[in-house]
Amino acid sequence: MTSVPAATGIATQNVRKSFGDHVVLDKVSLSVEEGTILALLGPNGAGKTTMVRILSTLIPADSGSMRVAGHDVVADPDGVRAVIGVTGQFSAVDNLLTGAENLQLMADLRHLGREAGRRRVAELLDQFDLTDAAGKLLSAYSGGMRRRLDLAMTLVGQPQVIFLDEPTTGLDPRSRRTMWQIIRELAAAGVTILLTTQYLDEADQLADRIAVLDQGRIVAEGTPAELKSRIPGGHVQLHFADARGLHSAAELLPAAGPDQDQLVLQVPADGTVDSLRDLLNELHEARIPVDRLSIHTPDLDDVFFGVTGGHVSAQPHQDHTLEGAANR
């Protein structure tokens, strides 16, 4: 990598940070082009939050150069603060105010002026589906509503660069999808976004580029497609009621790996509906009874396995079990 470009977006070079003897970030170099989304992917403790805290001027780095939207993070922190928005992992809302008052507080602190401020607040309440709850104290808000308000507060000043630290952790699937939609719309509007996540599917859904952070180092970087091409594919696990079924299925599908103890057959699959349908049809035509199946999609473990040679075990596998689906 060459020198840090002065352009917009985010560019860091050789960022280091230790807490005592513990090295949290080790020469991290990143670049996010204007109007794109970079997902910083990694397990807990990888250094994701520290990176966000450094770039958003909350804590200093030990060394390295960093520019956010053209402003040097060390030399001109106020310049950075004027153009960024940050939504941290822990909700940064004022619990003793209402939703509308929280937004108004941000508008006042961004010096938007009375009229423009009020307009922006109404606009965001509407955009984030919070108009009905605008006058309620935050104690009456659900987790998803708080997270939406949190992000809305970040957007009051219409920042050019947004940092989202695990924006969907702890959200239910519906709120999560709503959040994804909002993030996509922001990027479409030209906002540069750096988000951290523990979930490959989230990075895959949202990011233009993914950087995998492991123990303070970037161990892989690329587009989602590039990264996925480097990790072993997914598979389908077929669970059988008896050894006879397992045996016949293993004969039918020579590429699969049988597990005699568990009565499970692991069939390589690319995760598409077509391939799954073909597989089930094949089993159906051969009249092999399958008890149930589960689909294993590549996850963070696989990415790590692929890019590090497999020393971490970060997350439990996310298996989507389809009970009895193959029997029908």
Partner: protein, 265 residues
């Protein structure tokens, strides 16, 4: 807008936030303002008869009421700043402070909002207490200038205690700690001339009582409200107030700028 205008604007916004908090957290506001009034009733109607007799022959409850009002005004300040400390700690342990720190706002405005809000709350609480005292028969021979001087002295002292409470709130690792440490102020107040004349105390305690900040402030207030001359005590009161304010301010700013910088999370 200029930097100064931004600073003023941000401080005003933070003050408004603080005042809203006081209204939204009425249980604490009422408790902190109510405590001095309960103590006033307790000291006047339960202890007042006997303590008043100690002030001199033929004196009683009424005389003790006049004596104890300055002490209770200081109790009011000590009580309200407990809330300051709690509010500051709530801000610092919550997520909102990180949001403020990532915004281009006047850095100290967060603290300014707490200080001004607490000062307004203190003066309002003192006004209520004086009102109750008058209703109970409090008598003051002070003129307008004496009253203004008394308000000035007590506001200055409250300002100093508020900065101290801000520093304690910043230093506290949790909201619970922040709510406990300012209790020391209440204890100090009982070991001063706020409730009984220091002359009645045993030697060691009397010396301590005479050389701690609450005594000159209480004596100055008592002198001003009673229409008596105040000299050296007023100077001592002002010196203590400025001293506490400056040291606490520097401590608070230091804590505020350093806080979290070293924390991994």
């Amino acid at each position: 807008m200029t930097t100064l205008a931004y600073t003023l604007s941000d401080s005003r916004v933070m003050l408004r936030r603080n005042l809203k908090h006081q209204l939204r957290y009425p249980s604490m506001t009422v408790m902190l303002i109510g405590l001095p009034i309960v103590l006033l009733l307790l000291f006047v109607y339960v202890f007042g008869g006997q303590l008043g007799a100690g002030l001199g022959a033929h004196l009683g409850r009424g005389a003790y009421l006049d004596y104890v009002v300055p002490g209770l005004l200081l109790i009011t300040a000590a009580s309200v700043v407990q809330g300051t400390s709690i509010m500051v700690a709530m801000d610092m342990t919550g997520g909102i402070i990180d949001r403020f720190r990532t915004m281009a706002i006047a850095r100290a405005s967060v603290l300014t909002g707490h200080v001004l809000g607490s000062l307004i709350q203190t003066l309002a609480a003192m006004g209520i207490l004086i009102g109750v005292a008058f209703a109970l028969g409090f008598h003051s021979s002070a003129g307008v200038l004496d009253w203004l001087a008394a308000i000035g002295i007590v506001a200055l002292f409250a300002f100093a205690l508020i900065w101290l409470a801000v520093a304690l709130g910043l230093a506290a690792k949790s909201v619970e700690t922040a709510s406990n440490t300012p209790m020391v102020l209440l204890l100090l107040l009982f070991l001063s001339s706020g409730f009984v004349a220091t002359a009645t105390m045993p030697t060691g305690l009397r010396q301590f009582a005479e050389y701690q900040p609450f005594t000159p402030v209480a004596d100055t207030m008592r002198g001003l409200l009673g229409g008596a001359a105040v000299g050296g005590q007023a100077i001592a009161a002002i010196a203590w107030s400025i001293g506490i304010a400056v040291v606490s301010y520097l401590w608070a700013i230091r804590l505020y700028n350093r806080r979290r910088a070293a924390e991994p999370k």
